[in-house]
């Protein structure tokens, strides 16, 4: 296969893997957070805050991956 084609393929697969990873991560985060705030609604605000921070950090890692995928397609 041509190197350019490989780069596009890698970018596509990479974007999919990033989406899977971020999905699993945020899913793992949001589910228990909702459960916790349903059990103890009085700390729901705190849980939401912590959840958003963790989700943002998680998303940051996913976005690093996305940028690399984008660079692969743009520079190929």
């Amino acid at each position: 296969m041509e190197p350019t084609a490989l780069a596009f393929l890698a970018a596509g697969i990479g974007a999919g893997l990033v989406a899977i990873g971020a999905g699993i991560g945020i899913g793992n985060l949001a589910g228990p957070a909702m459960e916790a705030s349903a059990r103890q609604p009085e700390v729901a605000g705190h849980i939401r805050l912590t959840m958003i921070i963790a989700a943002a950090l998680l998303e940051g890692v996913a976005l690093f991956g996305m940028i690399i995928c984008l660079l692969l397609t743009l520079k190929a």
């Binding site: 705190h46 805050l49 912590t50 958003i52 921070i53 943002a56 950090l57 998303e59 940051g60 890692v61 976005l63 690093f64 996305m66 940028i67 743009l74």
Partner: protein, 377 residues
């Protein structure tokens, strides 16, 4: 009630249909002109303001060149090229040629010069300081924020006004935002010295929010979808935080207590890298989120044209309502994203400030257990 809901449903369908009509011809035109729709170029920075279908306004070009040194200022790219002091190349089949005279005029008529990188006819280009689209939008966002808050600040001049209830929609809205930043972001995350950082946090929040929301307005763009803008914001966070860093914080960074001596030399660089990576991620997160929203919208609209080319116009007509409906949905998501990412940037900045302000061991444990959310990386 049922009738009312029915009418609303019909209105939404009508709006969607109207959206299809409105979006169709204009983007088809954009796609025709270049032969292909380049989603990245549309969201990227540029040296012109696009007011399609009414045309484009070119922005001033400022170049710093050497041999001989000089600063060249032109009111537009067109005038820079027509003065013959700057030239553009036309690339065809991997072969680049410099355009002159008639060919240059022809290229300008086809708006080719808007995407070209002009080079000086004599000497070499050192810096391209041209005013770009994102710079204009960024300054505009800053001016809007300044105008709003200078006006509002006047209402709090007298001491008795500060305890009085806010009057009017405008003041109520922004007081709620300011109180939100103070009570939900600054107080819990920075700690007892939150007042020192409140001006920075409020400015960052309001500027990012304003810039993000400008990305949703027609003919405007989000300055925060430019990586230079977000890195500058993150650099401000970095400097503002490190400037106030306590002795305990610097000791933790370069001479971590409670570990054997050889480990200290390993830990210090790791801590330093993680400190920089945190701020790097802060910039990249905001940039990528604002960028990806506009890319997604353009891709969803672009899929109609892709299908038009691949499967014919009937398939495209069937896909168009779906594409537009998804675009509408993504636009609503983008409104939420504009607020969330202004919030997230400010929140993470506040957490970094809180880290820089940590005092001794005992105090740190106390605040982290009670107030500071758990955080890694």
């Amino acid at each position: 009630m049922a009738l009312n809901a029915n009418i609303r449903y019909r209105q939404i369908v009508l709006l969607l249909a109207a959206g299809c009509v409105f979006l169709g011809p204009r983007l088809a035109h954009a796609a025709d002109e270049e032969g292909k729709l380049d989603a990245v170029a549309h969201t990227a920075d540029g040296v012109y303001l696009d007011f399609a279908p009414f045309g484009a306004v070119e922005l001033p070009r400022i170049f710093l060149r050497s041999d001989p040194w000089g600063l060249d200022v032109f009111p537009s790219t067109r005038s820079a090229l027509l003065s013959e002091r700057y030239v553009m190349e036309h690339k065809e089949d991997g072969h680049a040629e410099i355009l002159h005279g008639e060919a240059l005029r022809d290229a300008i008529d086809h708006h080719e010069h808007l995407y070209a990188k002009p080079k000086p006819a004599q000497g070499t280009l050192v810096l391209d300081l041209s005013i770009t689209r994102h710079l204009v939008f960024g300054v505009l966002a800053a001016l809007i924020v300044v105008a709003i808050f200078l006006g509002l600040a006047r209402r709090y001049r007298r001491p008795e006004d500060r305890v009085a209830a806010p009057r009017g929609i405008f003041q109520n809205m922004f007081e709620a935002l300011v109180i939100f930043v103070r009570d939900e972001i600054a107080k819990p995350c920075v700690g007892p010295r939150y007042r020192e950082f409140l001006p920075f946090l409020l400015t960052a929040f309001m500027f990012i929010l304003c810039a993000n929301l400008m990305g949703l307005a027609p003919y405007l763009g989000a300055a925060t979808s430019n990586v230079a803008v977000t890195f500058t914001l993150a650099a401000f966070t970095f400097v503002a935080g490190q400037r106030k860093g306590t002795k305990a914080y610097w000791t933790h960074l370069f001479w971590p207590p409670g570990v054997p001596l050889p480990v200290k030399f390993i830990l210090a660089p790791i801590e330093l890298v993680s400190l920089i990576a945190k701020h790097f991620a802060l910039a990249l997160r905001l940039f990528a989120n604002m960028m990806s929203g506009s890319l997604l919208i353009l891709s969803l609209i672009g899929i109609i044209f892709t299908i038009n080319v691949l499967f014919g116009s009937l398939a495209a007509a069937l896909v168009a309502p779906v594409g537009v409906a998804f675009t509408l949905f993504i636009t609503f998501i983008k409104i939420a994203v504009a607020f969330i990412h202004a919030f997230v940037f400010t929140l993470l900045s506040a957490i970094f400030f809180g880290m820089a302000l940590e005092e001794d061991e005992h105090h740190e444990e106390e605040t982290s257990a009670e107030e500071q959310p758990a955080l890694a990386g």
